[in-house]
C-alpha cells in the first residue's frame, strides 16, 4: 500500500526537486504541498497523511511547531523533518516536539526514501550527517552500554548537571563524568547531545525514555 504524505516547504525550487524525487517511488503518494505553516496545518488536519515532511523554517508555523501541533491534536500523522539545518539542537527540539525523523535536504534520494519508509512503519530515523557515527551507517554496532551508564545518560538527557546526577544516583560527580566519557567513547559521540542522538539511533534508549 502506498504511503500518503504531504510536503511543507517555503522554497518552491526545493519543493519541486523533492516532488521529483518522491514521485519516482511507486509506493509514495504525495497528497498535498504547502508553502507555509498555516496552510500545511489545515492540510494535515483535513488529509491526515501518514507522513508529514516538514521544513523547519517556514512562515506561519515553523516545522517544530507543526510537529508539536500534530502530536498535541492526536492526529495519526508522523512528522519527518526535512531541512537544511544540521544543528543538533534542532534535532532535539524536533524530537521533543514529536517528530520521528530528521533528514537533511542534501541527503541522497535513497536515504530520504528509506527514512520515509522507516518512520511510516513507526520507526525512528536520524540523518547520519547530523549525528555522525565513526562508521558508515548500518554496519557499526556500538559496544554495549552498561545499565549504570544508561541511567546516567538518561538523567543527563533530561538536563541534569553532573552534580545533580551524582546526588540522585548516590555516586560522586567524578564517577558521573567517567560514565559519560565511557558512553561518548562507545557511541563515538563528541558531546551530550550527540550521545543522546546516537543512543537513539542505535536503539540503546527509546525516544519515549529520552524525552520523558
Amino acid at each position: 500500500m502506498a504511503i500518503s504524505m504531504i510536503l511543507a516547504d517555503d522554497h518552491p525550487l526545493t519543493r519541486e526537486g523533492m516532488r521529483g524525487y518522491l514521485a519516482k517511488e511507486s509506493d509514495f503518494n504525495i497528497i498535498g504541498e504547502y508553502a507555509d505553516g498555516e496552510t500545511a496545518w489545515q492540510g494535515i488536519q483535513q488529509l491526515k497523511p501518514q507522513v508529514a515532511l516538514l521544513d523547519i523554517r517556514m512562515p506561519g508555523y515553523d516545522g517544530v511547531a507543526l510537529a508539536r501541533k500534530i502530536k498535541e491534536a492526536g492526529i495519526p500523522t508522523v512528522s519527518l523533518m526535512l531541512t537544511s539545518y544540521d544543528a543538533q539542537q534542532y534535532v532535539m527540539a524536533s524530537l521533543r516536539a514529536g517528530a520521528r525523523g530528521y533528514v537533511l535536504k542534501t541527503a541522497s534520494m535513497e536515504t530520504l526514501s528509506k527514512a520515509i519508509r522507516i518512520v511510516a512503519r513507526g520507526g525512528f530515523y536520524l540523518d547520519s550527517e547530523v549525528a555522525s557515527a565513526v562508521e558508515e551507517e548500518g554496519d557499526f554496532v556500538p559496544e554495549p552500554v552498561s545499565v549504570r551508564e544508561r541511567e546516567v545518560l538518561l538523567l543527563a538527557a533530561r538536563g541534569l548537571s553532573g552534580k545533580e546526577i551524582a546526588a540522585q544516583l548516590f555516586i560522586s560527580e567524578r564517577t558521573v563524568q567517567t560514565h559519560l566519557a565511557s558512553i561518548y567513547d562507545k557511541l563515538g559521540a563528541k558531546n551530550k547531545t550527540e550521545a543522546m542522538l546516537l543512543s537513539l539511533k542505535y536503539g540503546i534508549v527509546t525516544l519515549e525514555e529520552l524525552l520523558d
Binding site: 539545518y85 544543528a87 543538533q88 539542537q89 532535539m92 563528541k190 547531545t193
Partner: protein, 463 residues
Amino acid sequence: MRKNLLVQLTIAIFLPCLGGFLIAWIGFYQFEKTMESVAASYVQNLVQGAAARLETSYGDIYSDGSWRPNLFRSRIAGLNEVMLSGVQIPGVFAIFDEEGQQVYGPEDASHLSSVLRQTALAAEPQKMSGTDGRVYTVAVYPVTERELYVVAAVAWDELLGPMVSLATFWPFITGLLGLIGVFSVYIMWQKVIMPLKDLETEISAMKWGEDIPLQKAPEAVEELQKLREALVTLAQSAVAQAQLARRYVNDLVKVQEEERERISREIHDGPLQDVTAFVQRLRLISKSDDSPEERQRLLLDAENIALTGVREMRELCNDLTPPWLDLGIVQALTELSERQSRQLGVTITLDLDDFIELPEDATLAFFRVTQESVNNSVSHGEAKNVKVILREDEEANTIILEIQDDGKGFNVPDDITELRVQGHRGLSNMNERMSIVGGEVTIHSELGKGTTIRCELSKDKLD
C-alpha cells in the same frame, strides 16, 4: 532684579564711601568753627582779665568808688605782684608798651610783639600758625589810660587737647577709607569683573569638544584662575572624549567594512567557486559524446560539487546568524559549545539552568559573549578547558553567565573602551553587547591562572 556686578559694587561700596567722606568733611568744618570760637572767647577772657588786673594794680580804688593811679608803685614790681598769683592756666600772655617793648611776660614771648603790628587794636581774636607749627588764637587788649597792651596767645592743642587731633584726623581717615573703597572697586573691576567677562565671552564662543580656553589669565584673582584651570581641564577631557568617539565611530565603520569584505571573500572563495564548477560540469555533460559511464561519473562529480556548496553556505549562515538561536538560550549555548569544542579542540563543560528563558536580544548578547570568550580563551589564552555557567541569582534577581578558562590569563586593562581604539575589539565588543541589553561584564584574569568573564543582567531589564 539682576544687576551688573560693576553696578552692584558701585552701589554697595563706592557711593557709601563717597557719602561718608562728604559727611565727615561737613562735620570737620562745624568742629573747626566751634573750636575757633572756644579758643577766641578763652583768649579774649585771658587778655581782658590780665588787663583788668593791670589797671587795678596801677591805682587804688577809693571809698567813694573812684580809681586813682598810685604813682609810687613801680611798674614792674606791681606787675609781678599782680600776675604771679600762681594759677597755672593754658596760654601765655605778655605786656608791651606802645613802642613794642615787652614790659612783662615770659622771656620767650617777645615775638608776640609782632602781633601788635599786625593786628588792629581791639579787633577780634585771630587764628594764627605759630613758628613751632602749632595753631594759636591770639588777642590784643589795650590797658586803659596807659600806653600798654596785653597780648595773649593760646595753642589749640594745649587748650582743647586730643579734640584737635581728632578733628584733624577724622576727615583724613574717612577720606582714606573712601579712597580705599574706590580703589577696591577698581581692583575688583580689574581682577574680577574683567576676567569674568572675558571668561564668559570665551565660553559662549567656545565649541565644546573642539576648543580649549586660554590656560592663563594673569590679571585674574586666584579663584578665577582656578575656575579657568578647571574649565581647561574639562574642555581638554571633552576634546579627548570627542576624539575617542570619532575614532570609535571610525573603527565601527572600519569593522563593518572589514566584515563585508570577509563575507564577500568567503562567498567568493566558497559557494561561488562551487556553483561555477557545477555549471561547468553541467555544460560538460550536455556537450559530451562520452560513454554513459563517463556521463555518470561527471554527474556524480557535479552532485558532489553542489553538496560542497550547500555545506559551505550552511556554515556561512550558521556563522553569520545562527538560526538555532530561536530555540532559546540553553539550546543555543549547547549548540555553540558543541560546535566550538569541535572546531577549536577545547573541552567545554556546560552548567546551564534549563529553566532560564531570555528575550531574543539578551539571548543574542549572551550567545555572542560566550562565542567571543571561548574564542579568546583558545586563541589568546591557549586554554584546554572552558566552563560555561548560566544561572539565576534569585536574591539579586539577575541572570549570570560565566565563562571560566584555564588559560594563560592576562592583565585586564582599566578602560575596555580604550581597547577598541587600540585595535583589540573582542573585550570591548562583549562590553557593548551586554550594555545594549542593560547588562554588565566584569573580567577577572590572573597571569597563569586563567580568566573568568562574568555577565550580569538584571531581570528587571528584561521585558
